[in-house]
Structures are given as C-alpha cells and as structure tokens.
Amino acid sequence: MNVQPEKLKANDFASDQEVRWCPGCGDYAILKALQRTMPDLGVKKEDTVFVSGIGCAARFPYYMSTFGFHTIHGRAPAFATGIKIANPNLDVWVVGGDGDMLSIGGNHLIHVLRRNVNLQLLIFNNEIYGLTKGQYSPTSRIGTRSPSTPSGSLESPISAIQLALGAGARFVARSLDTDQKHLPMVFSRAHKHKGTSLVEIFQNCIVYNDGVFDGFTGKDVSAEKQIKLEDGMPLIYGKERNKGLMLRENSLELISVELGKKYTESDLLVHNEKDRTLANLLASMESPDLPVAVGVIYCDPVDTYDELILDQEKKANKEKPNLKIDDIINSGYTWKV
C-alpha cells in the first residue's frame, strides 16, 4: 500500500529530474517557492497536475513530483481546460513564460479567464524569449535590442494583468521570483480562489535580460519602488511607510504622495480586491514614477465554468434519469419491417 504521510515537505514535491535552467535563473526561486507552498495547500500529489506550453518556464512540470504535461507552445490553457473539465477533482496549475502565454497563447489565455475555469495560471514574465535565445517578447519594453530587433523594438509592451482584467479575469496577482515570503503567500491565495487565478511573476533571465527588473526589485530600492497590496488596507508603501497612493483631484488618476505634512493615511485609497477599476489603476502603475503593485490586485469570485458544467450535467441527468443511448436512437421516426 502506498500510504501518504500526514504532511508532505517541500522536497516531496521535487521530481527526480535534474533541473536544467541556466545557473542563476529566476526560475529556480519560483520552483523553490512553489515546492514550499504545496504542502500547505492540502492537496494530494496525485491530484495535482502541472500543465505547460514551451519555453524555459514551461519546463517547470518536469521538476515537480506531481502529474505534469509539457504540451505545445502557447496552448497550455486549452489543455488545462480539458483536463479540469474531464476531472474537476484535479488541482490544475498552468505555467508559462510571457511569450508562451501572451504572444502565441494570448487567445487561450483570455478565453480561459473569461470562462473562469478553476485553475491557477502562472506567468513567468522575464520580458524576453529565453528558450529561443533572447528575442524580444510582447512584454519587452520599447527599444529592447534583441536578435530580432537589433535597432530596438517598436511595440508597446502588453500588461498581463491589464489584459487579463480586460478579458474578465476574477483573480489577478503579481509577485517576484526572489521574494520568497511574498511568492508563497500569492500562490496560496491563487490556489484558494475558486476560478481562474492569474499570477504574474517577474522573473529574471540572467542570460538574455539580466537585471531588467532591478529598478524596482533590487534589495536597496524594493521598499520604495514596490507597493505590497493588502485587502482593506490603505495603499501605503516605502521603507518608512511614509508614502501612499490617492486619486489626483478631479481625475481618475493615481498619484503618489508623501505622508506627513499635507496628507495623512486617511487621505489614501484603501485597497479593495473587488474593485476592478482600482485594480486597473494599480496594475498600470509603472516604475519609476509610481510604485509597482505586487500582491493580490483583484479577487472577486463568481461561479466557475467547471462547476456550471457539472450542474448542467446533473440537471440533465435528473431530467432524464435513466436515459440510454438506445432511447436516443429509437426516438424520432422509426418503422418495423
């Protein structure tokens, strides 16, 4: 018999495969954080499935000792939808890079969000195509020089979170590869949320895009350049917790203010995870003018697609309790010879 111990440890979620990312890649930290989160989620290993597309990030499933499906580029959300509908008992995680999920896979991403299938989507955003050796991606900043844009890229980057909100997402969050406290918290929240939970993780590609997030992730600057969201709490940040966010007067625009002289905490906006407009405002904040928002940006659950399907099936079964295929075949016009 294969008795599972009461509580698994992080290590129990590591597969026997050698991890093959570049030394120093941010993916390691994310892997570690997730392996550390898993035991606390109360889900059995055999009920957990990691699904991915193609890319460095998409190698993720190989390193988890759960079930894993490394599929094709960009389509992981579609595979995951089939898996979850086929067996709603399973705990399904989708992992992909910014290219996988936002370039070739953008359509599946918005549709899984719209459908609200109960699963977790993790986007490892390194603002570059790692696996194919460094071309710019849809999240790369304007002017990114890469093998395919030697004179600099020209397109405005896409924001995973804003796109998701536009598509009707019910849970969006953000975190950083290196933040080993924050990341497990965000993973747990994503897991707890019923419906599609999207988590964008800023991830450093040490080989092709090293330091691209340093402006707000560096140890020295992070407190001043990030704001950690907490539901129901005023939007305060800064090492000294002396800065805050409020609306510019007579406008729908966020500004950062210093607390003390002119403004006090009570002037600040309070984070409300159910406020989609606030979510959009927070998601669009960019360094260096405004702090980058991390944490749960939006969370407002509604019925999930998989539940609704089950309900509909149950109802159909109830309406025609003992229906057999023979009944269908013999329905309509028949005659005897």
């Binding site: 055999e46 599929t71 579609a78």
Partner: protein, 623 residues
C-alpha cells in the same frame, strides 16, 4: 371534400410499376424544401422502400428570395432494390420557383417530369432566376414532361378558412405539393399529419391549414384535373432484413457510434470542437447528450478544441475533436503531440471542397493526404473512412476501439455528403456490441508511462488522480526505457520505429479486406473509400450483370491498410481508383504496393454518378 380518414390509406393497385425513382424538391430557402424532403423520406420508408437522400443547401444562410444561389433542395432516391446513392439523374423535379428550375433542370433526365408552381413565375422572379424569357413559353423545357399547376393559388384557396395572413398561407404550399407527390407514389399521409399536428400543437390553425393543404394536393391528384402525362406509380417495397428501422444521417451515426464506443470501453466523452460547415452537426447532436456522459466544449478555435480534447484524454476521458478541412489543418501541430505522447484521441474530419475556404457546403474527399501526412515529421496515426450514413455508426465504434487499445489518435474521415444525407438503418441491439474495456494503469511497481504492451505496443495509460502514478509527459522525445526526456540518437530511432511499428502492427488486429463485388478472378478491380461507395457499388453491380469481369474493394482502413490488401490488388490486370479528389488514395496505393493503379477523379463538389463510373470501367476494359 373527402374526409381525412378515408383518404389516408391509398389504393396503389392500379398504378404503373417502377423499380426506383429519383425525385428532387427544389425551391427557395424559405420554401421548406428540407422539411418536405424529410417527410417524403419517412413516408417512403414506411412504404418499405430502400432509399438514400441528399439535402443540398445554399452557401448563404438566407439568400434574397428568388435568386439561384438561394435555392435549397432535397433529393431522394427510393425503390424496391438496394438503394446506394441519391441517384444520378432526376426522374421528377419539383420546382417551386423559376430559380429552382434554372438551377436544377440540367439534372433532370430526358423525358423526366417537372412539377412547377406557375404562381411563382412572375416576370420579376423569372428575371431574377436568370431567364431571358419565360421558360414556360419558350422552348427551354422541350423534351421534358411538364406539370404546370398554380400551386400558390390553389394553396391560398384551400387554407382560406383558417384565417392566416398571406405569408403564412403561402407557406403551406410545400405541403400541398407534398400531398400531390404522395398521391403519385401512393404514400400514406397519416404520419405527416400526425407530425404536423404535434409540431404546430400551439398554433392549431397553422396545423389545420397545413393538413388541409396536404390533403388538397392529394385530392388534386385523385381528381381528374391532371393531364394524361402523369399518373400513379407503384414502387414496391424493398426486401430488407426484418427489424426496427429509422432514417439516419452520417452525422447522427457518428455521434451515436462514438457514444456507444465510449460506453463499450467505459469512458466518458469529452468533445472539444469549434463550429465549421459541414462538421457542426456533430457538435450539435452531441451537445444534446449530456446525460449520456458526454461533455461538449465549444472552444475558442480549432487548436484549443483539439488541445482540450487531448487534455481530457490525458485526464482519463475519451477526447474527441471534430472539424472540416481548414480546421483540421490548424490541428496538425497538436495531433503531433497526441502522437508523440501516445494518447487516445479521435479526430473526425467532415471533408468539404477546397483548397482553403473552397466550397464549404460542397462535398469532396480531398483530405486523405492531410489525414495520412499532414503534420511535421514522421507522425503516423490511424485513418479510417466511412462509406454510408449507417456505416458511420460502426466505424465510429471501431475508431474508439483502436484509439484506446493502441493509445493512438484516430482520424475518422467522413464528408459533407455523408454527414447530411440519410438512409434507412436497421437499429442494432446495442447490448450485442462487443465491449472493449479500458483499464487505467495503477500498478506502481516498475511503472513508467511509456512501457509498452508487448503485443499491441500500446503504452501504459496512467491518469492523474491515481496515487503512485505521478509522471510527466510531453512532446520532446522520450526514452524508450525510462520515459524521461531523451536526446539520445539511438533512442530517437528506436522510438520512431516503435511509433511506426505500433500503427503498422494494427493490421494484425483488424479484419482482412474483403470484396464488395467479385473476386480475384476478375479482370479489373475498382478500389474506393468513403462516400463513393454507393455509386461505385451500383456501377460495378450493373456491369457485372452485363457480364463485365469487374470486382470492387472498398476500404474502411487506410492507415494501416488491411494486411492482405497488397496481394489482393496484385491479382488484377487493372486497378481503378475513383475519388472525389485529384488522386490521393491512388497515390498511396501505388507507393505502398507498386501496383499500376490509375485514378478517376472528379472534383466538382458533388458525388459521382453511377453512369460516370460505369463509363470509365467500360472504357478501361475495352482497352
């Protein structure tokens, strides 16, 4: 007026005897031709005829009234012999307006009968249809027998009492026409009347009006108002096996076959699809079968559709996807993944005319190459084809059996013609169909996901949710020995061989190929696949009766071929391969068996005529 009861049973004794009849109802999209055809089909079935139907829709959803491209028609071929096609040429054309006459007149055989509604031959309609002058007045219809009736007017007249508006009144004219045709062939009106009363139960005056129109048309035939040109015909019942019958379309047969197949191996169905003509009916039918463990999922596109189905198979369901040519093309990459991960999957391709968007509402069988070869790299799968609406049922069950037994995608080829056309079908006893239960692997000892059954070469199917079976799979090459990613050169060769060998080996598990007609001692063999079965079979049958030494082979299994096929073919002096494409099966047969097969190819978006095939055979045999 005669009472309804007394006219329901018709006296057919006095009629002219006919072996079989081909009739086509044609009119505007709004004229209810599909409904008319459907009712006539049922009535003919009740009368015991064998039959075959071919509904033909316009490409437009609802084209402007009176245009040729808005003509909708329904052809039925019924008779006392085995009916295998919807018929080469029309014996009777029912033309509800000038456009229908314009479009369909060339299909009518010499001396054939045209029944037409003179009430619709307004100058405007005549012009719209593209006639320069009124075809009823010039010599356009020379050589045909004509039955000109003001059907519109007579219909208006007979439904007056029900107080409908003009539009609703005129809507009854198809039933009037049907009544007349019922009279001609001695069909019973009872079932149609029952059906009308049920259908319009909430609008009884509409029901009554339609019934009245049906009866009036019938009475029109019964009374002396018809010219000598037309009389009653007697098409005797066909000799068929006893049992309960129904009409079945190819789309229904596939849907039900898949459901039965899944039940026989105890799997739930996950059907992921995206609408496309002519594949959508399968999605529609299955969407109504929720209580039979069928989940349908309309995905955002064809790629998501197949990926979700593969995901479902991975999770332990039977994943099925379905589309038509252009949509199947989009699935190529994902099919490769299913092949590489060796998951069961069924891909139903309802072929249509191409290339590209082509002629979506027209039929063709030109996706054979795509089915067999249409992916990157060496990526073999099972390809099955269906030959008639009823046959779709059996082949669908077989598709499920092969998919789960061999852990492989199966491409099931049908086409627009088969999907929509119908034939009477002896309802089988589902309990008598053999089971082929699947067991998901749960033995942890020495488990790895790509361990193979030594006989079938199928890999283990272990599914999420099973403790101890946790494993990772993907599209990168896997080690034969451990299932892990492997970049090893020899291993890649070994796995490639295993994938190919597995599919080839299936030929050990399928029936030997047989002859539909004739045998090895004949001179020429006609080899076909798919919906060409009917015309080929009839042509071969006819010519054999005329003394030609011609045999027929019709393939269900195309990848792999049955193992005796090569030897069968090699015994013939000539091998003729008629296809509704530019020569696809013929090319594969030549390559596989090095036999000098030659093609007879028709790419007109419609089925072969029996006579076309007869002519080629005769020409070939004359040298």
């Amino acid at each position: 007026m005669v009472s309804t009861e007394s006219i329901i049973k018709d006296d057919i004794s006095s009629s002219e005897y006919l072996d079989s009849v081909v009739i086509r109802f044609a009119g505007d999209s709004g004229d209810g031709m599909q409904l008319t055809g459907g009712q006539f089909t049922n009535a003919s079935a009740v009368a015991g005829n064998d039959l075959s139907t071919f509904p033909d829709f316009p490409a437009e959803i609802r084209a402007p009234v009176g245009t040729t491209f808005g003509v909708s028609s329904f052809q039925i071929h019924f008779g006392q012999k085995k009916i295998l096609t919807a018929g080469d040429e029309l014996d009777v054309l029912v033309a509800m307006n000038p456009a229908a006459l314009m479009v369909e007149k060339s299909s009518l055989k010499k001396g054939g009968l045209i029944i037409l509604d003179t009430g619709s031959f307004s100058d405007r309609n005549i012009k719209r249809a593209g006639f320069e002058t009124n075809p009823l007045d010039d010599n356009t219809l020379d050589g045909f027998r004509l039955l000109k009736i003001d059907i519109s007017g007579l219909t208006m007249e007979c439904v007056k009492e029900f107080g409908l508006g003009k539009k609703d009144s005129l809507r009854c004219k198809n039933l009037w026409t049907l009544g007349l045709v019922y009279w001609m062939y001695g069909r019973s009106r009872k079932e149609t009347i029952d059906w009308l009363e049920k259908k319009f139960i909430k609008v009884p005056n509409i029901a009554s009006a339609n019934v009245a129109a049906l009866n009036a048309g019938h009475a029109f035939g019964e009374t002396a108002e018809i010219s000598g040109d037309i009389s009653k015909y007697n098409v005797p019942a066909a000799k068929v096996d006893p049992g309960t019958y129904r009409n079945i379309s190819g789309a229904e047969a596939i849907a039900w076959g898949l459901v039965v197949g899944a039940q026989k191996c105890n799997l739930k169905i996950f059907f992921g699809s995206y609408p496309i003509t002519p594949a959508s009916p399968l999605l529609h039918i299955l969407s109504n079968l929720k209580s039979l463990s069928v989940t349908t999922f309309q995905a955002e596109d064809e790629i998501a559709a197949i990926c979700s189905a593969i995901g479902a198979s991975y999770a332990g369901s039977l994943g099925i996807t379905s589309s038509s040519g252009p949509g199947i093309a989009l699935k190529g990459e994902a099919i490769g993944l299913a092949i590489s991960t060796e998951l069961p999957l069924i891909i139903v391709n309802s072929q249509r005319a191409g290339p590209s968007t082509g002629l979506p509402t027209k039929t063709e069988q030109s996706d054979l190459f795509q089915a067999v070869y249409g992916r990157n790299a060496d990526a073999p799968l099972v390809v099955l084809s269906t030959k008639s609406p009823g046959n779709c049922f059996e082949v669908s069950i077989e598709a499920v059996r092969l998919a789960v037994k061999f852990m492989t995608p199966v491409m099931l080829l049908t086409d627009g013609y088969l999907s929509n056309s119908t034939e009477p079908w002896l309802i089988p006893d589902i309990d008598n169909i053999k089971e082929f239960p699947v067991s998901h692997c749960s033995k942890a000892d020495g488990f790895h996901p790509f361990l193979r059954d030594p006989e079938t070469l199928a890999r283990n199917w272990a599914i999420p949710g099973t403790s101890g079976m946790e494993h990772r799979i993907g599209g990168i090459e896997k080690s034969y020995d451990s299932g892990h990613i492997s970049y090893d050169a020899d291993n890649h060769q070994k796995m490639t061989n295993a994938r190919i060998g597995k599919i080839k080996g299936i030929s050990e598990f399928i029936p030997m190929q047989g002859f539909e007609e004739g045998d090895e001692s004949d001179e020429l063999v006609v080899v076909g696949w798919g919906s060409t079965f009917g015309p080929i079979n009839r042509a071969v049958f006819n010519l054999r009766n005329q003394g030609y030494s011609v045999a027929q082979i019709h393939l269900t299994y195309i990848s792999p071929f049955p193992k005796n096929l090569g030897n069968m073919l090699r015994s013939f002096k000539q091998i003729l391969v008629p296809e509704m494409n530019a020569g696809q099966l013929v090319s594969i047969l030549r390559s596989e068996y090095l036999v000098p097969a030659f093609g007879f190819n028709k790419v007109e978006g419609k089925p072969f005529k029996i006579s076309e095939i007869e002519e080629v055979i005769i020409a070939k045999m004359k040298g």
